[in-house]
């Protein structure tokens, strides 16, 4: 499958994520959109990794080209997992304090 398809898909996912983050007020949905953006990037990394590997294997069967892309994916997944745990904890605390998960309530730092 041409790499372009993956790029289109990732762009679409990432844009959905950005738009979601920018437009939604529900903290949980914003949070999910952030995850969506992360996973869009993950997908792209995997796709490029596979592409480079496929190109290099013909010249050298022992090649490890592209493996670093997959490594990054694991890093991002680990970081995202940590982020989720912290983020969800914050949202829980936020709900306890404000009885809402609307991020526009979090404007105490205004001015």
């Amino acid at each position: 499958m041409p790499i372009q398809y993956y790029i289109y898909l990732c762009l679409a996912l990432f844009s959905i994520g950005i738009i979601g983050v920018l437009t939604r007020r529900n903290a949980i949905i914003v949070f999910m959109c952030v995850e969506l953006m992360l996973n869009a990037v993950n997908l792209l990394l995997v796709a490029f990794s596979k592409m480079h590997y496929g190109l290099a294997i013909g010249a050298n069967p022992e090649t490890t080209v592209g493996i670093d892309g997959q490594l990054f994916v694991f890093f991002i997944m680990v970081v995202a997992a940590a982020e989720v745990s912290v983020g969800l904890a914050i949202i829980v605390m936020m709900y306890r304090n404000t009885h809402s998960v609307d991020i526009n309530f979090l404007n105490r730092l205004k001015n």
């Binding site: 372009q4 790029i7 950005i18 983050v21 920018l22 437009t23 007020r25 914003v30 991020i103 526009n104 979090l106 404007n107 105490r108 730092l109 205004k110 001015n111």
Partner: protein, 640 residues
Amino acid sequence: MSKLVYLVPLFPLLGFLINGLGRKSMSRSLIGIVGSGAILASFVVSLLIFFDVKNNGASVIALFDFINVESFQIPFAFQVDQLSSLFLLIITGIGFLIHLYSTAYMHEEEPQHFGRYFAYLNLFVFSMLLLVLGANYVIMFIGWEGVGLCSYLLIGFWFKNNTYNYAARKAFVMNRIGDLGFLLAVFWLLFRLGTASYGDVFANVSKLSSFDVTAITTLLFVGAMGKSAQIPLYTWLPDAMAGPTPVSALIHAATMVTAGIYMIARSNILYTMAPATQTLVAVVGLATAIFAATIALKQNDIKKVLAYSTVSQLGYMFLGLGVGAYTGAVFHVMTHAFFKALLFLGAGSVIHAMHHEQDIRKMGGLKKYMPITHITFLLACLAIAGIPPFSGFFSKDEILTAAFAKNPIYYFVGVGGALMTAFYMFRLYTLTFLGDFRGTQDQGNHIHESPSAMTIPLIILAALSVVGGLIGIPEVLASNAHSLEHFLAPIFAESAKIAEHHHLEASQEYLMMGSSTLAIILIILFTVNRYKKYRATEQVDSSFSKLLENKWYIDELYDSLIVNPLNGLAGFFKNIVEKSGIDGMVNGVGRLVGYGSRQLRLLQSGQVGNYILIMVLAIVVFFVIWFNDLSIMRFFSKIF
């Protein structure tokens, strides 16, 4: 023996530290013992060194390196030779007497201030010893600054009186002006010769161009003008009377003002090589001698008269230096130290008895109340007036004879000054001790002779004033009797080789001595007669005497020419440049930042969405800038 020379300044330094640090816990008598004892110990060591130098000659004692950078070296070394050992004796000897006198004079002070006083006094002597002992101009400069500082501290000793503080400040500023000249001269020497040690400088003086020598000596003389109170920097010395009277004695006799004379006598070779500067020194000295004498004629404050007399006598010393009579100048420093210390201490004794009355118009007739003070004061007056065989006669005669040999005009003007000296000294003497008492009844009941701690120094100094001149009897009166000249000969040997020698006929010298002495005696008789029947109501209102009484309005002239314009300039800088310029700039920066942040604060909407939007936009902008070669566009165009 010379190796022990470091003890000489060490004792006063220790005295300063002990009295300075322990002034709050020590009793008056202990402070007095420490303060005077330190100077006495120095005096004993100085005596030993003096005789050692007399027998074994000069030496330079290096203690440690003061500055040592590659080839540039300034050792902390002491010059032990005829000139410095003589000055050591004057400083510590008279210094000790003044310390002893002070223990009684200052007895009314609180112990704490008493201790402060003696600490300053010891520091003063220490600085002066350092000045005299230093084997190079840099060490001399340390002492030079030290005496300036101590004079400031002591003149402003009674710091609760603001007038005294102004006097102290004036002394300091005037000295600083002179010090700048001295400092420049030292830099010039270092620049040209790479050394400031006397030995090296004097040995290499021929390497300097005549312009360099003239400039260096002139700048050094500017330093001497400040320190030794010559025109135009003399005005601080009369104001220095604000300090306690023994301090005036110390400043005028033993220390401080003789520093300039010492420095020029020390650098005599440089000055001999620069005839132009010598003429300048002689003219300034002579002008000061006359000018100060005229002012002294009409002063009514007992200490002011003495102060102007000091300025005038210093003028004679510079005249001596200027005409090449270095021995005469040093001789006059010595005799002047005796009788001027005596005069000041005598004046202090009078002031003490009169309960701090200093106006001679309100004194009179003190002869019968204070016999010792009266006799010693009279002897000092005779000495300063130049009556043979008192000490002042020999030294002044030596200077004036040398001046005559150089240029008869110097001589006649100088003799005119000497006649004025006789007049104002005997006016002072007559108004104070003769005639009827003119003070208040209360003062009259309390007049008493001073305690022995004050009269003993007076008696010793009186003895010295009487016989002190006998070490310098001129050749014409007795051959080979000028022992001071023989003693100091090695110091001035190089100059003596270069300088031209004038010899006067013996008959001419006799004539000069005889006529000037006769004139002085006549003046004295006239003065005593004139002021014996003085009444306080007596008023002379001629405009000229008013001019003299107001010191030629020199202070006012300086005020309007220098002080006020400077104050105006300072006011301009303070009000305009400082307030609008610098403050405006600094405050403007603050206001700008404040305004900027108030505007930027509006960005903090508190809406998380806004923040994220800004973040996303920022990232987009960042990408555009980062890939501004449009490679990202090409990338997109390729994939789409």
